[in-house]
């Protein structure tokens, strides 16, 4: 019974957040300034997800070249800037990450 309410509750809040603006879309007209601000949402939110994952991989700040997340991220940023391809960024970034991790484990 507990898990029933847990799932219903999680579903209600998650869907509620995702749907509330869509539901009222016909009656909402954002001011221009807010519209322009919303253009920055992808950069702002995704970067705020990326940084802790890279620099705080295990719950503590890990600023070191021994941190494979940092190496993988630097390579991914470079590839993305150079090639503008998401697939290439993912593949080469992951390879760099895995290689660095493997090398460090075996030195």
């Amino acid at each position: 019974m507990e898990e029933f309410w847990l799932i219903i509750g999680m579903m209600a809040v998650t869907f509620g957040i995702r749907y509330v603006l869509f539901a009222a879309a016909d009656n909402i007209e954002f001011p221009d300034k807010l519209k322009r601000a919303l253009n920055y949402v992808p950069i702002a939110v995704l970067t705020a997800i990326i940084f802790p994952a890279v620099f705080i991989p295990k719950g503590e700040l890990y600023l070191s070249l021994n941190n494979p997340y940092i190496i993988g991220a630097i390579v991914a940023v470079g590839i993305s800037y150079w090639k503008k391809s998401m697939l290439l960024t993912v593949i080469i970034g992951l390879i760099a990450f895995a290689l660095w991790k493997f090398l460090l484990l075996n030195i």
């Binding site: 992808p42 950069i43 940084f51 993305s80 993912v90 970034g93």
Partner: protein, 241 residues
């Protein structure tokens, strides 16, 4: 170029593929972790089916392991998923043309990944018709993949120990990098990323992931300030000419 609906649907699937691949280990780890808690396998799967929110599901499983009560987990879910409000606000101009029957599934399927792919597409194709077909191609693919991976995780979870320690979350990081970096083309966008990243580290320990929202909103505010400054500068230069 004008695409047919089915073409747009498959384009959405194709564009989402890197993120789908990145999400596979996540789904499997979620299923595997889920079955180690007090939840029944059906409840673990039901959470994927009805909530469909990766990071909130992980946090829920973690809190259950720490024997948190369900109201606490629901409240945490609310804060953790609050960023979706920013996503829906950003997409709002592109969904006004659809009726509620279309908007409801669009909202239900709104995740970091479907938003990332959709916003990337809208940068170039803001005025193309049938955006919903592209969106559903990406989002439904993501949804199906998440369910399959949850089931796989439930089955094989315990036979692959320590999978959560492998660093598979890196896949999502590089996918997001692939979306963010091409967006950084001036001072305002660059500052937005730097501020969001820096503050997210400082506010990492804040409860209920509120630091994520604080960082994002502060970064947007800084970007708006710089955008305005750049515009003023451009005007001064024009007058000087």
């Amino acid at each position: 170029m004008h695409y047919t609906r089915s073409k747009l649907f498959s384009l959405g699937m194709k564009d989402c593929l890197p993120l789908i691949i990145a999400a596979i280990p996540f789904g499997i780890i979620y299923g595997a972790l889920g079955q180690t808690t007090s939840l029944s396998p059906w409840a673990v799967l039901a959470m994927s089916l009805f909530v469909f929110a990766g990071s909130a599901q992980f946090i829920a499983v973690g809190l259950l392991a720490a024997s948190a009560s369900w109201p606490v987990i629901v409240l945490t879910t609310f804060f953790v998923n609050f960023r979706h409000l920013l996503y829906s606000a950003n997409l709002l101009p592109h969904i006004k043309q659809y009726n509620q029957k279309v908007r409801i599934p669009m909202a239900f399927l709104l995740t970091d990944e479907s938003f990332a792919v959709a916003s990337n597409y809208l940068k170039e194709h803001a005025n193309q018709p049938n955006f919903s077909w592209y969106y559903f191609g990406a989002a439904l693919f993501m949804y199906l993949n998440w369910q399959v991976c949850t089931v796989i995780g439930l089955f094989i979870g315990q036979s692959v120990p320590n999978m959560a320690e492998w660093g598979l979350d890196m896949a999502m990081v590089v996918a997001f990098i692939g979306i963010v970096v091409p967006c950084l083309h001036n001072r305002a966008t660059l500052a937005c990323a730097v501020v969001a990243g820096g503050l997210s580290l400082i506010s990492y320990d804040w409860p209920h992931k509120t630091g994520l929202l604080f960082s994002a909103i502060s970064a947007i505010w800084v970007a708006m300030y710089l955008e305005k400054q750049e515009k003023t500068l451009a005007e001064i230069n024009r007058e000087a000419d």
